[in-house]
Each structure stands twice: as C-alpha cells, then as structure tokens.
C-alpha cells in the first residue's frame, strides 16, 4: 500500500537526512533526549506513553473495584480502600490519562498537519508536559505521603468531583484532599499552557495555502478543544484555591457551619466539569474525522457543517453544567433551563454522527483496525448519546442520577467513545511515529476481546441502575436484584484486561518486529503522510504549499484535484 510514496515525498520534501543524536544510543542519551527535548513529536509520544502508563494503573484499580463488587457482602476490600480506589480511578482516568493522551495526539499531529516545524512555543510545550507528569506522580504520592503529620488518611477518598463539605478538614483528615487539590491544580496549569500553545500554533504557523477552511477537521476540533480548556480550567483552579483557603486559612467558602455553601463547590466544579467532558470527547471526534474518510475513500461529508457542529457543541457545553445537579433542589425553572440546554447538544452531535455515516455511504470501506474501532465508536457513542438524552430528562434523572446507570453512561462516553478512538488513532498513526505497522493479529485479538469485555462489563450496569443500585457502594446486600448484573459486569473485566494486554504487547512487539510501514501506508491525504515515518526533527525540509483540504489527494489525482470543487 506504500505506493507512490517516494514520488510524493520528492514532490513535497526532499528525503530528510537524519540529524545528529538521532541514532540509537545509550540509555543516558535516551533519558537526556526525553528530559531536554522541546520537539513536539517526542513530547507528544511522552504524553501518550505516560498517559498509557497511568491508564494501566488506574485500570488495575478498576479491576479490583469490580472484584469487590462481584458478589454481595464481599470482604475483598475494606470500605476505605475501596473508596480510595474509585476516587483515584476516576481522578486518574480524567486528569492524568484522558487529558495527556489527547494532548499527546494534538502535540504530535497538529504541527505536522498544518505543515509547521514545531509548536509555536516549544519550551512552553515541554513545560506543559512536565507539569502534567509531575501532577500524576503527586497524585499517586498521596498513597504514602497523604497521612501527613496527623497520620490520618491516605490517598484521596472524596470521589473524583470531591464534593464539599466532605473535603473540609472536619471530614477529610490528613492531607489526602490536599494531594488531590494540588495535583490537579498543577496539572491544570500545564493544560492551560498547552492549550494556549495549540491556539497560537494553529493561528500563526499554518503553511502557505492552508486557510482556516482548508485546515484538517482534526486541527479544527483541537482548536475548539484548546479554547474550551482555557475557559474551563480556571474555575476548577479557583475553587481549588478556595478549598485550600478553607482548609488552612479559615475561609468559609464551603463551610456550611460558618455560612458557606455546599452547593457553591458543585457549581464551580461542573462549570469546569461539563466542558471537560467535551474536552475529552471532541478529540475522539477529531480522530474520527481523519480516519473515517481515509478508510471510506471519500472526503468528509459536509466539512463546513462539521466545523459548525464543533463550535455549537463547545458553545452549548458551557451552559449545561447544572444537569449534574438536578437533585440538589433547584427551582423548577432552573431544572427546566438546564434540561433544555442539555437536550440541544443532541442536535449538533446528531449532525456529526449522520455526517460520518454520510461519509461512509457510497465509499469503499476498508475494514482495517483503525476503522473497526471507529465503527464501534459510532455504535457505542450512539448508546452513550441516547442514555445522555435520558439523563437530560430531569425527572428521569431524579431516578437515574448517582445510580449505576450514570456509571454505565459515562463509561460508554469515555471508553466506548474516547478510548475506542484513541485506540483507532494509535493503530492509525503508530506507523507514522515509529515507521512500523502494528501487528494485525494481535490487533484483532485486542479489538474483539476489548469490545466484548467492554459491553459485558458496562451494559449490565444500565440495568442495575434501573433496579436502584447507587454508585460508589463498596458492598451491597443479596436479594436487592443486583447480584447477577454485578457478577456479569465483573466477568467482563477479564476480557478487557486481556484485550489491553494484547494491545500493550502489540505496541512493544511491533516497535522492533513490526512490518515496515513506509511513509504513507494507508494511502491518506493529510500532510503528516507527506513526510517520512518517523518524521525528521524539523518535519518538512521544505514547508509544503497546499491548495485544498486534501493536499495529498491533489498530488495523487492531478487530473481530478479537490481544489476544483471546494
């Protein structure tokens, strides 16, 4: 499939010579390169690599949680240990798994896709990575440092959204809540730095001919994500500072016994937290927007409306936060307002799903691994979207909120949606980053085991939610109708774990033994495929000039180029 790539590279760039320091060297050299690098590609891979590392740790915690819940009245985990696990699992998956992995994709791909040599601020880019990396270890350090001088507490056990007043010093002794606060606070600084960098890069460093209207949808989506990060992170930082003031300087923002408000925290947190959901899922859309067209052999259906849908989703997502709070006793007008805004999200989201289907319609769909993950994404994200609509019906939410149905819903969003596209993206771009294809057999094992395991684990949780099982329960009595669904759910974990095992094995094995990929293994159309695999430090010897949204299509089909139709 690597047809024509040599001709292409000659057209676009001279074959890049390898630069000094690139040759395989000693461990010191590798470590030095990682520590001192400001190369967006190396940083991108470090983001994804460390995100996957934390993913495995937080995944093991999830498996232990499921073992505890496999049977009623289980004594596998103590309640406090369980509560720390679900807190750390949730916190880690959102802040030190999801965020770094999506930033890793952005870092690696945005500059290459817009024909730039690096991010606009390479040093700030490294700063952003190291802030995140530090915050990840700070969070886990709570396990041994959290007890502090009082010798109370350990890792945070207040849930990933850390509702006040459970985080006040009266109810959260020791330093576990401080580790949660400071870890996410410092990680947030890194996220904001990276978001600013992404915006400046996208606005200023596009190559000649790449107007905003010709920018790959991937880049467009990340531009929107970056703006959301800048808007969403500061409220989180603000309430975390307020919490620290409460805990150590006697402020009473959230201290209800001193006139503070327990609800205030929820508003602050979800003003951050709901856009955060879109910060995490929009990159999934970004990956879909690249892979679905290439494997359907057609351009994306309705490019302008896809851009508009992104902007609409981002805009609406800033006004829906209190749908996490339908049970706090808002007025009927307040509840109705947030129910309506939430349902409006369904419109642009629906447009996206239909446009992906429109892209596939009439194409020649190659069912290779990246595309398989994307097709499963469509199916699973559809379920997640529909359960989201159910949760938006506020009266229905009064029943479903804080039940296992919600757990099922957001795992369908974040695993069925985000993680599946991350896998798709890794299968798609691994050849670009390492010059070798991921193994197909291991990949299929990974795909089938993980897909089956995912549904077996999370589908039954919809039902235990319907049967009234609240979330965050370390144990439950037999005879409430929950036993069977929990057991099935736990069995699914085994399949997921095996799937992840084959995935990691594939990543490692293919690095040395994988089939050589060539520059353009998928016969794709965006600029990253116009340079070598892996790309040289400077990406392109000569900066490319583009005339359409699919510059490589134009080169491969000079008789029928895209710019004639756009």
């Amino acid at each position: 499939m690597a047809h024509g790539s040599t001709a292409l590279s000659k057209e676009y760039i001279e074959v890049a010579p390898s630069s000094p320091g690139q040759e395989k060297g000693s461990l010191t050299r590798i470590v030095q390169k990682m520590v001192f690098t400001v190369d967006h590609k190396v940083l991108g891979l470090m983001y994804i690599g460390s995100g996957l590392f934390f993913f495995v740790i937080a995944g093991i915690m999830a498996a232990l949680i499921r073992i505890q819940l496999a049977v009623p009245n289980n004594h596998f985990l103590e309640p406090d240990v369980f509560n720390r696990f679900f807190t750390m699992h949730g916190t880690a998956m959102v802040f030190i798994v999801g965020m770094p992995i999506i930033f890793g994709f952005a870092n690696y791909l945005v500059p290459i896709m817009i024909g730039a040599r690096d991010m606009a601020y390479p040093r700030m880019n490294a700063f952003g990575f190291w802030m995140f990396f530090f915050s990840g270890f700070l969070l886990y350090a709570s396990y041994f440092a959290g007890p502090g001088l009082y010798n109370a507490g350990s890792a945070p056990d207040v849930g990933w959204f850390a509702y006040s007043p459970l985080t006040s010093r009266a109810f959260s002794r020791g330093h576990s809540s401080d580790y949660w606060t400071l870890a996410l606070f410092s990680g947030g600084i890194g996220s904001i730095a990276t978001a600013i960098n992404l915006i400046v890069t996208t606005v200023s460093l596009r190559c000649k001919g790449m107007t905003l209207g010709r920018m790959p949808l991937f880049v467009w989506t990340f531009l929107v994500v970056a703006f959301l990060v800048i808007i969403a992170m500061p409220p989180l930082a603000a309430c975390q500072i307020m919490l620290l003031l409460d805990r150590y300087l006697g402020a009473a923002f959230f201290d209800t016994q001193n006139g503070g408000s327990a609800i205030l925290w929820q508003h602050f947190f979800w003003i951050f937290g709901h856009p955060e959901v879109y910060i995490l899922i929009l990159p999934g859309f970004a990956i879909m927007n690249e892979i679905v067209p290439v494997f359907s052999r057609k351009p994306i259906f309705g490019y302008p409306i896809m851009v508009a849908a992104n902007l609409m989703i981002a805009f609406i997502s800033l006004g829906v936060w209190a749908h996490h709070m339908f049970t706090v006793g808002m007025s009927s007008v307040g509840n109705a307002f947030f129910a309506i805004t939430t349902m409006l999200v369904a419109v642009p989201t629906g447009i996206k799903i239909f446009n992906w289907l429109g892209t596939m319609h009439g194409g020649k769909i190659r069912l290779e691994l990246p595309m398989l993950f994307c097709i499963m994404f469509l199916f699973q994200f559809l379920i997640a979207g529909l359960t989201g609509i159910m949760l938006a019906v506020a009266p229905f939410d009064w029943q479903l909120s804080d039940s296992y149905f919600v757990v099922a819903h957001f795992h369908y969003v974040l695993i069925g949606g985000l993680l599946f596209t991350i896998f798709a993206g890794i299968y798609y771009w691994y050849p670009k980053a390492f010059g070798r294809m991921l193994d197909n057999k291991l990949g299929h094992l990974h795909f089938w085991l993980f897909t089956i395991g995912f549904h077996v684990t999370f589908f039954p949780q919809h039902i235990s939610g319907f049967l009234g099982m609240p979330r965050r329960y370390y144990t439950y009595d037999a005879g409430r109708g929950w036993d069977l669904w929990n057991l099935i759910s736990t069995i699914g974990v085994l399949f997921q774990a095996l799937g992840v095992f084959f995935f990691v094995l594939n990543l490692v094995w293919s690095y040395w033994k994988g089939r050589k990929a060539g520059d353009d293994p998928w016969d794709a159309w965006t600029l990253e495929w116009a340079t070598t695999s892996p790309p040289p430090d400077y990406n392109f010897e000569h900066l490319p000039v583009v005339h359409s949204r699919r510059p490589l299509w134009d080169l491969k089909h000079p008789d029928d180029p895209d710019w004639k139709y756009e």
């Binding site: 052999r297 057609k298 006793g329 109705a336 469509l378 009266p395 229905f396 144990t475």
Partner: protein
C-alpha cells in the same frame, strides 16, 4: 427479616427491589410515564441509526484487493440532506423538552394538601434521623411530635411532605419506587413528597457519596393503612415500659453509667443525646446500624462488643463493655418497644 417485626407490620410485604419501572407512588408514576416515552423515542432512534450503520458498513465495505485507481465517487456533502438531519433532531428535541418541562412542573410544584403528613429527614454519617411534625402545627413552624431513626412510617394513599436536611455532609434520599432522589444538603432545606399506592416495606438508600459507610446508609419506608399508621404513631409517642427482668434492669444501669446517653435518646428517661439515633423504640425496628444487620439479640450483641466489626468506620466508639455488661445492655435494649 422477621425479627422483632411485630403487629400490623407483618402484613406489609417487603419490597427490596427498588425498581424504578415498578412505581408505587404518585410522583414515581409521573416520572415513570415521562421515562417510558423517553425510552421509546430513544429506542426508535437507536434502531434507525444502528440500522443505517450496519447497512453502510455491509453494503459499502470493500471486498478483496484494494485497487487504488478505482476510488469511489468523491461526494463533498449535500445541503438538503444535512438540513434534513438537522431539522429532524430539532423536532424530536422539542418533543422531549415539552415532556420534560411539563413533568418537572407537575412534580416539583405539586401543591401540599392540608391533611398531608409532614416529616423532617436529617442525614448523618451514616444514618437517618426522622422527625414527625405535631399534627395541627403550621408546616413552616416546625414542632417535633416524636423522632425515630432509619425507618419512616407513612399512611398509604396520602401525601407525605418530606423536608430534607443534613447534619454533616451531602446525602441523598432515594426510595426509587416512591420518588426520584433529592439531596440532603447542610445549610439548606430541600423538599420532596410521596403518595404511596400500596402498603409494604420499601427499601431506600443514600445516593450521594458521603464517606466510608455510604453503602450502609439504608432506609426503610413502611407504608401502612391509615389505621395501622395511627396505631403506630400512638405507640411511638408512648415511652417504653420500664425493664422488669433483673438482667434488663442491670443493663439499664450500665447504659446510664456509661456515656451512651451523651449521644442517644430514650424518651421518658434522662438519656437525651442527639448525636446518635433515637433508641426509644429500638426493639420495634427492622434493622440496626442503618440496615447493616437484622435487629435481633445476636447482632445487637456483636454491635455492643464493637460496632466497627459490623460497620467499619462507624462513628460510635467501642464502649469496652465486658461480656456480662453487653448481655445486660442488650437485654435492656430489647425492652425498648
């Protein structure tokens, strides 16, 4: 679950499955109606879109070797089609918005009838304190008639107005067959209501994470006929009889000689603590420790030895009683009827 569960309550069926699609109370039925319409709409969308996905995937999958010279026709979009799949979701959304806003108003702004039973539920880590309003008192001027813990009794087919408060952190009141959940928030008074259609013992749970024993902050709602309910109210307002056996009398002594009375209340005695559950009619309750164990002598004995063996993290300390003292206290507690 029989235990000391006596009198008229033996007739009331246990309803441990908190199935939200089997509502037995007016607001839960209203939620149920809106939920069913939503589920049907979502199911139809699911079938249509999944059908489209399967259709395009099967029909347009490329078979055999890939010939890159034969790319499919390049279609860039279609304004008409895109307009169609923008307008149709908008119409569906409007329908859902109408259903939702109507149901919100009907449930939240439902008037409180004059003959409603008024109760206050106060969440604690990890148990429920329940106050009954004195009949005839104005709803906005609270006058407590009597208090109980972890078990609510209400008459069937009658509106019970529930005020929700919290003494410490957030909790959430959820008895799925009776109504959706409403949070208990320190510093605020929330309201919910139920109007049960059938008698029975409904199982409820705390639904907002509240710390170590969040999972064992259970609640029972006993729905009774009006006559049974009136009899129960009368019994609750009568202080328990003085212990008669020697062991129970000794147990009472141990109870008052230790610091039990600082936290617990027994009507008609000097015990007037407010930090722990009211024990006035402890022996009539279904469970102890907010649902951690059936209420019988064995579990009470285990609890008195060290509450944390049953409920790790519980705020009640181990009182370091001897075996003999434990037996005596249990004998005394069993007289609290």
């Amino acid at each position: 679950m029989a235990g000391t569960f006596s009198g008229a309550r033996a007739d009331e069926p246990l309803r441990p499955i908190a199935n939200m699609f089997d509502p037995l109370s007016k607001p839960a039925e209203m939620i149920h109606d809106a939920s069913i319409i939503t589920l049907i709409i979502c199911a139809i969308i699911f079938l249509i879109v999944t059908g489209m996905l399967v259709y395009v995937t099967v029909k347009y999958r490329s078979r055999g070797e890939i010939d890159e010279r034969k790319e499919p026709p390049q279609i860039y979009g279609s304004s008409q089609i895109e307009l169609a799949w923008t307008v149709i979701p908008i119409i569906i959304t409007v329908v859902l918005i109408l259903i939702t806003t109507r149901t919100i108003g009907e449930i939240q702004d439902h008037p409180v009838p004059k003959d409603a039973v008024h109760i206050r539920v106060i969440g604690h880590q990890w148990w429920w304190e329940i106050h009954y309003q004195k009949p005839g008192a104005k709803p906005d001027e609270w006058v407590t008639d009597f208090t109980i813990a972890n078990e609510i009794h209400v008459p069937v087919n009658k509106h019970t107005e529930i005020t929700l408060e919290s003494a410490d952190v957030l909790h959430s009141f959820w008895v799925a067959q009776l109504n959706g959940k409403t949070d208990l928030i320190p510093g605020l008074k929330n309201h919910t209501w139920i109007e049960p259609r059938a008698t029975g013992v409904f199982f409820g749970n705390c639904a907002e994470y509240c710390g170590t024993q969040h999972a064992n902050m259970q609640l029972k709602v006993v729905v009774q006929t009006q006559a049974d309910y009136d009899a129960w109210v009368l019994a609750q307002k009568t202080p328990p009889p003085a212990p008669t056996t020697a062991e129970a009398i000794a147990g009472k002594k141990v109870f008052y000689a230790n610091s039990c009375v600082n936290c617990h209340k027994v009507d008609g005695t000097p015990a007037a603590g407010v930090f722990g559950p009211d024990l006035t009619h402890l022996a009539t309750r279904l469970t102890i420790g907010a649902g951690i164990a059936k209420n019988n002598e064995d579990s009470l004995r285990t609890w008195m030895h060290d509450p944390a063996t049953l409920k790790p993290g519980v705020l009640m300390p181990n009182m370091q009683l001897t075996d003999k003292e434990v037996d005596e206290v249990v004998a005394y507690l069993m007289t609290l009827k």
